[in-house]
Symmetry: D2
Subunit: 341 residues, 4 copies
């Protein structure tokens, strides 16, 4: 399994509670001024079991700057990216960088013996040929990227694949799916990143909806890699800040009942800390904004043997920073909810 | 054809230009305080070929009230609904009423010899059994509801079907479609009407997206009736005021080329006044907001013989008031763009 | 001091940390389906030192219903309002009710020996004549409403006055203000409550801004009562969900320096847990959304001896639920940040 | 009067109606890809009395590009800025450029005998010293910038001053105002321009409000220049696309009655085409969005002799493109509403 998606496990990490007072690990964040990076700083600064030692920007030359929304939570400035300092000050480094930067920075940290939790797409695609197509900056996967604990490099799944796979994998495992799956995703604009552009301008998005990356989005490859099935994925930008809702259209094998669908999902997530099943009461983005929850609802039409799944999560938390911290907790043997509720 | 969807015709009404000065017809609006109703008043008050004689609310007892946004455009108060007065003051009455009210009011106007352009769903479904299921208030279709000009009652298509059918009918006519079509619709909140409810509360929608009516929306029946093909339709509310974007997933017959798709659409809309084809430059809601345009873009994946169509329109204009005025123009033999540019 | 505004104290409550495990008090919420009520449930369900025993709606007959966004945090249903049950199950009850309901419910709880933290305006105005004008439902103030700890009834300040007074009281105490103060407030729509109405309809607010209550808002009286100075207060609804920004225009006494303004504010809030001073780096609503912080920035024009203060807070947290919990912490002798970071 | 603000005149231009068919003038737009520029293209392409001959971008090297939202309205590409071509193809050129570009381009067009309607701030400030401070790019005012018709260069007022001055000038002329006026302005993000930046990023504005330019905004100088009175002006960005609402706080001379305030405004705008007075029914941005109207409402508190004015307009129409077209109409001797309703 190339990407560390914590909720995929059927048995949750039992976890040892953090010993009071003593931090279990020193951590640092690179890319702390981006949206996912700021969310990481927020979570890690309050995490009871680790000590946040540095928050760096994504560039080596940017001037130090404070994070006004995090005053009193993290009062230190965000400093320029410095790999030696990252390596010496932290046992585990979170990379919330563009994937080209991650592709360059991660190996250098690993060389220095520092473990890495990477939020970018740089290391998500296993097959060299596919990776060459979608993430050409990642020439080779660093040794030890065999994932699974306690490996050295954790590559977190993308925000869209997280939602899609949490909903689809149990149904795929239960062999209920037939034919192509369609994933229609609606994402808040923070998913497009913090860099100013026409695409992220307020006036281009307010009062509008736009599709993009039709048949050509890299997350399509990632979902297909994990699901081992043809998937049509179309993402859209909708005028809100954070959150993703995916509507997933599945053709069920003939004779599949609503009860079978429900059972497959319930079996998968009976003990999951952050997946909430809502059944026919369909979830909405506002139910999960600013949380690490992923909510999954569904409707089955037995007559036409079709299924619609509605999946929601906060792209900056469960889709990025929260999931990364969940992975940290698993690496450290902590209860995976530590610092996330 | 039960619903009068003007752009479906391949040859546009040539149209006689309105004789300067002399109005061709007297018109009135019932339901003028709703969102589509206000849009009708705005369009008709400025329409060069008709005279707007009355704007009434949807209730017989509501107090007269002005429309502040329409000051200087329509300065008269909206008065209580009065069928006799409607009938005596107008040759053609627009009904922007809930469908149960339309089901009751339309026959009474027809009895009095007044023609009706109805924006509700009351008269859209032909088969009595289907109508009983989706619009039980409409016991029988009034005589003369055979649509097509110059009939007495024009039933305008719903906002969602307008977008879906404008994109799909040419492809269906060209026999390029295989299997079930999936229509994933994103609508602004004005589509949910002006009545205050939990569903239309600002805070329930801001920062959120919600699916509704999964496998059970009446527009699903309307699209299937017209397309004569199985359709899976899922509408969503997105946090904007006006506009619809539909992402339509089509399995193409094997061997279908991109050129064939483009030709089918171009042939259908070469002379259409209000359908703009954008090809691979995908349209966005902001391109059509506050206009009567419907923009259609698409991407074809020949290898996997799949097609994604992106269709956008303003639900209050092209999806309601503008389309109704376009029908008026056709009834009156005017250029169908009159008063709509 | 009629209203319990925790940050007004110059020395923060030192607080005893909650003993691990043992809850210090049982608490309950009435009005738990409203926006402030839900926020209270969220905060209290996770509060380490109290046990939330009941969440009730604002009506005695409403059916029990879950709070989907709070699944896994508070999984019990919201039950109908029942005063006896409230009183028997909780030592302290939070009322997040309309003020007419609070005016009726609070005395009945006090009779039964239950302490009350009231978030409504019912008990904010001291002078009977003024109260008669602004809150006629509150015939008399219950005995023991002398506020200040350890009284029986805590009346929390309104969201607008909280922001205005946190900024203005230190300057007033330092005698720097001259003449009338102008408070121009911009509030998210959740401030208008959860009841559906024309005023809270999405489409009425999206893309718009509206002033209301000009010269006639009850919070004007509350601010003047506390500040003992003429205030012109105009609130506006802006198209966002949660958060208030107030722009406060002050004429400074001639000769007042920027340093004096800064010193007055810094002296007041040096040790405050939840007031952050940002000086000339003006705060924005997004810095405080979903937190209990109130951020205050300012610009002084010494030449024209004028001052503009920019104050932001989250109306549902610092302006309502968070402030109420802060008061709870003070009542219970806890660190006032308990459960709020 | 340095800036051509059409509604300031008490008697509206009677206007000759455009002779059918024959355009009265050839016009062109420089800066056509910006928000105000696009609005100009939309208005001028449909204007019945002029012919739009060119739409150019603000740079000489940018590649030609279409305007997708204006397909069927203006189907030509926006071409690179070319002053010779502008001058030869148009009698009157609209400049919707950054003010530094306007400062350079306008004189070169005037040299070539082409008339200019400038939407930037470059030529708004009369006093050289003030202009040096606020618009240093405008070394000298071109000869003939004496404004008033039929001069060569029309400098349109800024969006904020337009709203403020329409409300305040009649009261100032009637000598009802005492002391400093406070203008608290809330603007949609399109007012910050189309250039992508942190300030215009969607996620920085969604769910937020921010003040900026406190005591240092150039429009403060412009308002004071016209009003000849001390003004405190603070603009804010609110999360909507287009529209401005200004709340204006005025101390009235003692004894001023509500009737006097109303009379001053009514006398000023009895015959104004685009100013609508709403009295105590306060206007909201949605009433004027996408129109050339400016709505003014007010509340008077005679006891405390204070006045609050609420003024709304669409910053891209009445605050920019619409006002510029209104000036064009006046220059050409047309009814000033031509092409604007």
């Amino acid at each position: 399994m190339p990407i560390a998606a914590p909720d995929k496990k059927t048995a949750p990490a039992a976890g040892q509670q953090a010993a009071t007072g003593e931090p279990v690990a020193r951590v640092a964040v690179a890319g702390a001024t981006g949206y996912a990076g700021q969310e990481l700083v927020r979570l890690l600064a309050r995490h009871p079991a680790v000590r946040l030692t540095a928050a760096m920007s994504s560039g080596a030359t940017s001037a130090p700057r404070p994070l006004p929304a995090l005053a009193r939570i993290w009062d230190q400035a965000v400093t320029p990216l410095d790999i030696d300092q990252l390596s010496s000050s932290a046992d585990i480094v979170f990379l919330a960088l563009p994937e080209t930067a991650s592709a360059e920075v991660a190996p250098r940290l690993l060389e220095r013996g520092t473990r890495v939790i990477d939020l970018s797409g740089a290391f998500r695609i296993r097959e060299a040929a596919d990776r060459q197509r979608w993430y050409p900056a990642t020439a080779t996967l660093p040794q030890g990227t065999v994932y699974g604990l306690p490996e050295r490099l954790v590559s977190c799944p993308g925000c869209y694949p997280t939602a899609a796979l949490l909903a689809l994998e149990p149904l795929s495992d239960a062999a209920l799916i037939e034919g192509t799956v369609i994933v229609d995703a609606k994402s808040g604009i923070s998913g497009a990143g913090k860099a100013p552009s026409d695409r992220t301008h307020f006036s281009e998005n307010h009062g509008s909806v736009a599709a993009y990356g039709v048949f050509s989005h890299r997350h399509n490859a990632e979902i297909e890699q994990e699901l081992k099935r043809e998937v049509t994925f179309v993402p859209h930008l909708v005028p809100l800040d954070r959150g993703i809702l995916e509507t997933i259209y599945v053709s069920l094998k003939k004779g599949t009942t609503e009860a079978q669908v429900a059972k497959a999902l319930e079996d998968a997530y009976r003990d999951a800390a952050f997946v909430r099943l809502t059944g026919a009461a369909l979830p909405e983005i506002k139910h999960v904004a600013h949380t690490n929850f992923c909510d999954i609802g569904w409707k089955v039409d037995e007559e036409r043997h079709r299924l619609a799944l509605i999946v929601v999560l906060d792209n900056l938390v469960k889709g990025a920073a929260g999931q990364a911290v969940q992975n940290l907790n698993i690496i450290l043997g902590l209860d995976e909810r530590t610092g996330l509720l």
